[in-house]
């Protein structure tokens, strides 16, 4: 007899697993199908060099929703989030900017550049707290469609309207600025110090194909502040065991609720009858049937690749084809024989347990973007670096280290040549850039893995290597994510749902799309 489930979730990334766990928790018979040999999608830890564990793609846990951590009992399934609370920006002249958990120490550090900025920093943090609070509400709701007259949408809009009018005046003004300004313009309301503006604005360009002076980048910057709202719940930090441990914990929770997870099972097509999904076909030809199919893949995969030809309205397909991916980032993972030595000597010796940002100036970031605009990778890229083995000793053999470098910009579309040929050149550019701040780096590298946008696409199926399953630009957020009219996790095909980062509220290891989609599916009766 053919296999049959209440629900099949396509893709075992963190959102697919969260979705499956919630459906299973509600008593559904759920099967997760993952094409790779391990679950996690972009949240995987792999030992590519003996004894050294890489968080190959995503490297920090950003905004994992506290309710997911709690409702799925992720700590009970092994999730431990370790603190990561400082950022060092080294400069080439041996100077540096250090910001840590001690506000007085941070103030002293900024004051070396500008006493005014040092004091303004508090006010900036205060404002962002209110911004994060304002936006947090929106992250937790299914986006109502403003054009719809459906009672659910009307109610949703009324609630949203009530919420927004309940905000303080300043918050509404600031929120509008945040949604429309560039990260730099937003920051210049407070700061004059170049390196401070550069480092803060860098969180506004992560995963986008925009520069810090491009409008719309201010919003992305806010994402890094959301974790503050969880107080000491700390949904932000480094997952013990690397990001793969997050996926493992969610998978373990899903299994405990009764979900089945099958790896090395690539779905090639949906089975559709009378405009309703009935199951899927694996690439080995096996058919598996289910009442509900949920795709955690990105919008291109979900709408363009999986449904059979002719089963989706053409206008929607046109919209989805125009959904912007434009992968812009790469990852370089290093196994190190020893710790890197820095040109600068921060007074706080714990700086290696925090993030290291290669963002010495705004012009540096803009120049990195300039290279990419015309189809080259940045010769001297922006980097967000962590040394996981300093935070979790199990990531590398004793005394050895792993270093994770998030690299931007590395455009998916190269002007000349292809990524197969350019991969090591990118790796060299990264190492050469690192050497400007860490003179011993070349002598201590035992192994290097360069992950290009093409690698991201080919290995884990994120179109064009976009880490967020589509840019987090204003035109692709909220009721427009992934397309107008289809932001509520449903699709034109009956019983076919979407739950990936390409849906509201977007990317990062947050789990919110997976959870919100599960709630909607269960509301619909969870066929």
């Amino acid at each position: 007899m053919a296999e049959r489930y209440d629900a099949i979730v396509i893709g075992g990334g963190h959102n697919g697993l969260v979705n499956a766990a919630y459906l299973a928790r509600a008593g559904k018979k759920v099967l997760v199908l993952e094409q790779r040999h391990l679950v996690g999608g972009a949240t995987v830890t792999e030992e590519l060099y003996p004894g050294f564990k890489y968080s190959v793609f995503s490297y920090v846990i950003s905004l994992m929703r506290p309710e997911i951590i709690r409702e799925l009992n992720l700590p009970g399934h092994g999730l431990t989030i370790l603190p990561l609370e400082s950022t060092l920006t080294p400069l080439q002249n041996g100077e540096y900017l250090y910001r840590g958990s001690d506000p007085h120490e941070t103030r002293r550090n900024i004051a070396r550049f500008s006493p005014r900025d040092a004091d303004a920093y508090q006010d900036y943090g205060h404002t962002l707290f209110f911004m994060a609070k304002a936006v947090k509400y929106m992250l937790g709701i299914v986006p109502p469609d403003p054009t719809s007259l459906h009672p659910k949408d009307m109610l949703g809009l009324a609630a949203l309207g009530k919420y927004l009018t309940g905000l303080r005046e300043d918050d509404i003004y600031n929120l509008t600025k945040l949604m429309t300004m560039s990260a730099v313009d937003f920051l210049e309301q407070w700061f004059e110090t170049d390196v401070l503006k550069a480092t803060l604005s860098a969180s506004g360009i992560i995963g986008t194909f925009l520069g810090p002076r491009s409008p719309g980048t201010a919003y992305v910057l806010l994402h890094h502040y959301m974790g503050e709202l969880d107080g000491n719940f700390r949904a932000w930090g480094f997952a013990k065991g690397g990001t793969g441990a997050i996926a493992e914990a969610i998978a373990s929770s899903a299994r405990a609720f009764g979900a089945k997870i099958r790896t090395e099972a690539k779905v090639s097509e949906l089975l559709v009858k009378n405009n309703s999904v009935r199951g899927i076909v694996l690439d080995n030809g096996d058919e598996i049937f289910a009442d509900t199919i949920v795709s955690s893949l990105d919008p291109w995969q979900t709408f363009l690749n999986l449904p059979p030809n002719g089963s989706m309205p053409e206008e929607l397909l046109t919209d989805i084809r125009k959904f912007k991916f434009k992968g812009s980032s790469a990852k370089v993972n290093l196994a190190l024989d020893a710790l890197p030595q820095f040109n600068c000597k921060p007074e706080n010796s714990n700086f290696l347990r925090g993030a290291i940002s290669i963002s010495p100036s705004l012009d540096y970031l803009e120049q990195a973007y300039d290279d990419a605009k015309y189809g080259d990778f940045s010769r001297r890229p922006y980097m967000d670096i962590i040394i996981p083995s300093m935070i979790d000793p199990d990531m590398a053999p004793p005394g050895k280290h792993v270093m994770s470098c998030f690299v931007q910009y590395a455009p998916y579309h190269l002007r000349e040549g292809n990524w197969e040929d350019k991969r090591e050149a990118l790796g060299d550019a990264v190492v050469n850039t690192l050497a400007e701040y860490m003179p011993n780096i070349k002598d201590i590298i035992l192994h290097r893995q360069v992950v290009t946008p093409l690698d991201i696409e080919e290995r884990i199926g994120l179109s064009q290597g976009n880490i967020f399953q589509g840019e987090l630009s204003l035109s692709q957020l909220f009721f427009l994510r992934p397309a107008a009219g289809w932001a509520k996790y449903r699709t034109p095909l009956k019983n076919y749902y979407q739950c990936g980062s390409g849906t509201h509220p977007g990317g990062g290891i947050m789990g919110a799309p997976g959870r919100l989609a599960a709630m909607e599916i269960l509301k619909d009766g969870g066929h």
């Binding site: 700590p75 431990t80 609370e85 120490e105 503050e228 969880d230 107080g231 719940f233 000793p393 004793p398």
Partner: protein
């Protein structure tokens, strides 16, 4: 003025926060760093190094040593093997707890007892007529707790003469770090894999240096009392004069606790014919206790909702609280929570509490007082069995 411990030259160097507490007359770091976060996670994830020298330490030796220890403690000292360690309370004649601590057996006729408060007079009084020698060696010995999943890896590199594969939970062994003789007991106050190291004070600094040197690659981190406090609450371990009051300090009878009431009934061996407090404890066992010790898992959604009412994110203190608060069943107060903390590893707000016996058992829904923006509120608290956190590597 509190005294420096034998490790002070080293702890002072690491204590960049300059936050010290007077612990039994010694300077003990509260946090070495600005916050306790890294120190706490070192205990749970790598190895935390805690200066526990201020514990009181007594050496009991002589032909009647085992008889005396057996007379004092509620567990059977005669069955304590050489090289074994017992955690135990000890009581007064009324079966009320005087203190709790560990008993280490070195030979047929030699024991060491650690305790939270001074006990020399009590031990000496108990030894009346016995052929035994009792020494207060508190000031002679430095003590370090090395706690966390990497503690064994570090000790393997530092200590020779001990087979750490064979050193079981609650056993001790003697070895050498370089030329320094020391005692290593597989004990601790964190509920994690961990060891306590006992060393003559003149060797203290050298031992610290060796541990830091070899431990660096395993993430060894000096940890202060704030990190220790959170860990011990997660482990469900009692703190004297916080979770219970010594019968030697209690001003009123209502403040007395028996081992049964403090969750230590498992450590009362009524098969022993004689020990101090036995008859009272036997009576209590037969009649049932009035109080019980338990864990409370305070509902996070309710805490979020309470703070949400005043438009704040949940601001529950990052450090453990020792301010007791009432615990209710419906509108009736049924006890008090005495140690309260947010557990970073479990992501739960947890408390150690003393509540009435009777209907209250694991799974019971009580409520605990919580102050939100100066207003007294209550949040649902589910009674749970202790410990809250019990990783398999603790005993591995």
């Amino acid at each position: 003025m509190p005294l420096p411990t034998p490790f002070h030259t080293r702890t002072a160097q690491h204590c960049t926060s300059a936050q010290w507490r007077n612990w039994s007359g010694y300077m003990a770091a509260i946090n070495y760093q600005y916050t306790h976060d890294f120190e706490y996670y070192a205990i749970r994830n790598a190895a935390g190094l805690i200066d526990v020298t201020p514990l009181y330490k007594y050496e009991i030796s002589g032909p009647d040593a085992a008889n005396l220890v057996d007379r004092i403690i509620t567990r059977n000292a005669h069955r304590c093997k050489i090289g074994q360690v017992l955690y135990t309370p000890w009581c007064d004649d009324d079966g009320k707890m005087v203190d709790d601590g560990t008993v280490q057996r070195f030979s047929e006729q030699r024991f060491r007892i650690t305790s939270a408060t001074p006990n020399l007079w009590w031990f000496q009084d108990c030894a009346y007529g016995m052929n035994v020698d009792i020494q207060d060696i508190s000031a002679d010995l430095g003590a370090l707790a090395l706690q966390g999943p990497k503690s064994r890896d570090i000790l393997r590199e530092v200590v020779k003469g001990i087979d750490f594969n064979k050193l079981k939970f609650f056993y001790l062994a003697e070895g050498k770090a370089g030329r320094i003789p020391l005692v290593v007991s597989r004990t601790g106050y964190t509920g994690d894999l961990g060891y306590e190291l006992w060393v003559e004070r003149k060797h203290a600094e050298k031992l610290w240096d060796m541990l830091l040197d070899k431990g660096q690659k395993y993430g060894i981190t000096p940890a202060g009392l704030n990190a220790l406090d959170i860990s011990r609450i997660e482990a469900g371990l009692l703190l004297l004069d916080v979770d219970y009051i010594s019968s030697k300090h209690a001003l009123i009878d209502a403040r007395l606790s028996s081992p049964y009431e403090a969750g230590l009934g498992w450590a009362v061996n009524l098969k022993k014919k004689r020990f101090i407090g036995r008859s009272a404890l036997a009576r209590e066992k037969a009649a049932g206790s009035v109080w019980q010790f338990c864990g409370l898992d305070v509902s996070w959604p309710e805490i979020e909702a309470l703070y949400g009412k005043v438009d704040l994110p949940p601001l529950v203190a990052g450090v453990a609280s020792r301010l007791a608060v009432p615990v209710y069943s419906g509108s009736r107060q049924v006890g008090q929570a005495t140690s309260i903390t947010f557990s970073p590893i479990l992501k739960k707000y947890i408390a150690l509490a003393t509540v009435e016996t009777g209907d209250i058992m694991p799974g019971s829904k009580l409520s605990m007082e919580i102050t939100v923006e100066f207003a007294r509120e209550q949040a649902e608290a589910t009674v749970v069995k202790l410990p809250f956190y019990d990783p398999p590597h603790k005993r591995s």
